[in-house]
């Protein structure tokens, strides 16, 4: 054996040691001049279910295209599984399953034949196990019964499932799923979520883009938030929401009294709705607050701190709604 080190990438950056995706100052300006991704520094830890969140047009798909070597970055670098993209597509991509911007199928081929074709596209896929792996993938997404049907006769949700099956043709170290639940019925969404959890528990890192906040909240361990091509924040989902304090919610018929007491106790931003009073909780034991309310004769029917949702986090971070930028 000759010295292999020449073919290997250089030593990895210390912070990238255990990361599946690392981008540094990744930037893409499309030929039309549209700056779609702007200086993105993304770090996706191994084994995470990573939610990639942002409104329409914020650059999620563009980032994924760069990670998959489909488009060349204008500047900056992207490493996937420790190797530079798009240079290392041949070694990296066989270990990556991807669903990008919805499924794309050959309408005149059956679902099974579509998978046969995509699997034949991978030169590292063993043709001897092809049939068997395809059957397993079809089974995993619940398409076994419809596998012989022409793909043009598939419903949107069935196409989406077949696209997922294509991503699952081999054991993967990384799954990149661009809005995987698009077009699925609620039952299908649940199935996909449990599939993602199952894959994650096998050790597959899942990179999941979505503009559905609750989807991310339900399955993701980590998340990044994009807006207008820039990264707003990234980190563990718990930390993201924890960065924001929850709101104190008191349910009571005596809203006026409750609001007065809360203000006296130092709560800020008191808002009265029909039978609820919400406020920024003060820096003190909430039990005392509750006692004060009861002492003042407020009939407290509910008392608690509402966990901030990612949507709240998003609005707080971007200072704007979850809208498409012009």
């Amino acid at each position: 054996m000759t010295d292999m080190s020449a073919a290997e990438p250089g030593p990895e950056q210390p912070d990238a040691g255990d990361s599946v995706i690392v981008t540094r100052a990744l930037t893409k300006r499309y030929r039309g001049g549209q700056l779609a991704v702007d200086g993105l520094d993304l770090t996706v830890p191994a084994g995470s279910v990573f939610g990639f969140l942002g409104p329409n047009g914020s650059g999620k798909t563009t980032t994924i295209r760069m990670l998959m070597g489909l488009i060349e970055p204008t500047s900056g670098t992207a490493r996937v599984l420790g190797r530079p993209m798009p240079r290392a597509t041949r070694t990296v991509l066989p270990q990556v399953g991807a669903l990008i911007e919805g499924p794309a199928l050959y309408g005149f081929l059956s679902g099974r034949d579509n998978l046969l074709r995509y699997d034949a596209g991978d030169p590292t896929a063993d043709p001897r196990t092809r049939r068997q792996r395809i059957a397993a993938a079809l089974d995993r997404v619940g398409l076994t019964a419809a596998a012989g049907k022409k793909a043009r006769a598939y419903s949107l949700g069935m196409k989406q499932r077949l696209g997922l099956a294509a991503a699952l043709l081999q054991p993967r170290r990384l799954l990149v799923l661009d809005e995987p639940t698009n077009g699925l019925d609620p039952q299908g969404m649940r199935e996909i979520r449990s599939l993602i959890r199952e894959l994650a528990s096998d050790g597959t890192t899942v990179f999941l883009s979505s503009h559905l906040l609750d989807e991310i909240e339900q399955v993701c361990t980590h998340a990044a938030v994009m807006a207008q091509g820039r990264l707003i924040t990234q980190g563990a989902v718990g930390d993201l929401a924890a960065g924001m304090r929850g709101r104190l919610v008191v349910t009571t018929p005596d809203t006026a009294d409750a609001a007065r007491v809360l203000k006296e106790q130092g709560a800020g931003d008191v808002v009265v709705t029909e039978d609820q009073v919400t406020a920024e909780p003060p820096d003190r034991d909430l039990a005392d607050l509750n006692a004060a309310l009861v002492t003042a004769g407020v009939r407290v029917r509910g008392f608690g701190v509402e966990r901030p949702s990612l949507e709240d986090a998003f609005v707080a971070l971007t200072g704007e709604g979850f809208d498409v930028a012009g």
Binding site: M68, I71, T89, I100, Y106, R117, G121, T124, P127, P171
Partner: protein, 289 residues
Amino acid sequence: MSQAELTRPASVLWTFGLLRNELRTTLRRWRTLALLGVLAAVPVLVGVAVKIETGDGGSVGGGGGEGPAFISQITNNGLFLVFTALAATLPFFLPMAIGVVAGDAIAGEANAGTLRYLLVAPAGRTRLLLTKYATTMAFCLLATLVVAVSALTVGALLFPLGDLTTISGTQISFTEGLGRALLIALIVAASLTGVAALGLFVSTLTNSGIAAMATTVGLLITIQILDQIPQLDALQPYFFSHYWLSFADLMRDPIYWDDLVKNLGLQALYAGVFGSAAWARFTAKDITA
């Protein structure tokens, strides 16, 4: 699952799985079958027309200069229908069929979005392009053989078969005639490799399969027209279709090779130039469709 298990080495043979799949997929498109059907019908039409016209014992194209090459000989020997049919389809029907298949090769996949999934499979851009070109060449051969076999069948059914007279006036046996017919079919198929490369290059320029097909066929027609304009005779030797009909020289005795070699050289030049251009374009292209 260990990393070693996932980065297993590929067998060299596995790499051809894509080519096998591509050939099968191409043949399963109804469009391919329709093109082959049209090509198979041409010899039938020519054969039946000749049969009807000569039903009274006369001969077609008596002057010898009329109609496609060899047509006047068909009534004596059905094998000549093969040469006539190839001469009749080579200027337009055959290259049009190739233009459709080649033009659609990359652009059609881009249009359907399947290109991105082939590339993340990962099919590899160079491998995919080579696969597409090989498939287009295989289609050239298949299309030519469909014309030849259809012509041979119709010729055998409608006309007598036997020894034949070459353009030079010598006699050759029927078996040798069959051999020449096969050689001619191979040369005709090879004559189409230039159009195939041109079509493939056009296919890398756009994300619309229809646009690529139309452009390729449009270029084909334009070149055919320009090839008829005497003022352009300085340029004409560089038109990919200029020496196409030289395949008739295979029916001389001895075979006259000059134009045949020029034709093959020109096809190789086109394949080299446009193949490289297609590769340069496709390997550097942003795939956003």
